[in-house]
Symmetry: C2
Subunit: 128 residues, 2 copies
């Protein structure tokens, strides 16, 4: 039987980009990378897990901050090489304290902050 993973196109590093959006507002919160393990864990647990290329390890979103993402739906695109995952976001998606990681908007040739910082990152990450 064809494996679910065989229906997706992972890149030469075994990774696929996962766009994470708020299930209600459709706002894009972040993009991160998944390998087969992290997608499997995401499906099995109902919470997003990613693969960190810089740390070479699987991580659960919010494992440190408590800002987890409960999965509502998983989609793929026409080429089956990108995922779009709708979530219920606890807290904020961005480690800088913004609801979405996309808080900078191009204004001329500069990036302007366009988003409210809802959480003080120092307060979230100093707990450990």
């Amino acid at each position: 039987m064809k494996d679910l993973f065989d229906t997706l196109k992972f890149d030469q590093h075994g990774l696929i980009p996962a766009i994470i959006a708020d299930h209600a507002s459709h706002q894009v919160l972040m993009m991160a990378w998944m390998n087969r393990d992290s997608l499997g864990k995401t499906i099995a647990s109902g919470y997003t897990h990613f693969y960190s290329r810089s740390r070479d390890k699987l991580w659960k979103k919010g494992e440190e901050s408590g800002h987890t993402q409960r999965v509502r739906s998983i989609r793929t695109d026409c080429d089956a090489d990108v995922l779009l995952i709708d979530v219920e976001q606890t807290g904020v998606a961005c480690h800088e304290g913004y609801r979405s990681c996309f808080f900078r908007r191009l204004d001329g040739v500069m990036w302007a902050i366009d988003g409210d910082r809802e959480v003080d990152p120092a307060a979230v990450y100093q707990k450990k």
Copy 2:
């Protein structure tokens, strides 16, 4: 002076992922890749241009179908390695005739169609 491109992290192939969303509904329409040239053309023309890895060429979205994307805003994320571009979509984003390329939703271990086909692809692409 620092170049706009120097503020972004292109990958080892000189590419950055660009998530395209509808400016009004926030629905994610597609994801494609940009290099410096295609981002420059996107900014200069006000219409999305991408880099095709399979064809190794720059292309304007809608150049064949007429289904262009007028840029409303360009954002980047906290790591400056992904773009989020809000657009006014003419016609549909997907070459298969769906408004969004993400028209397949995971249902158990199968992908179910979840999206309305608004356009007959044969009618769009046979014109040439």
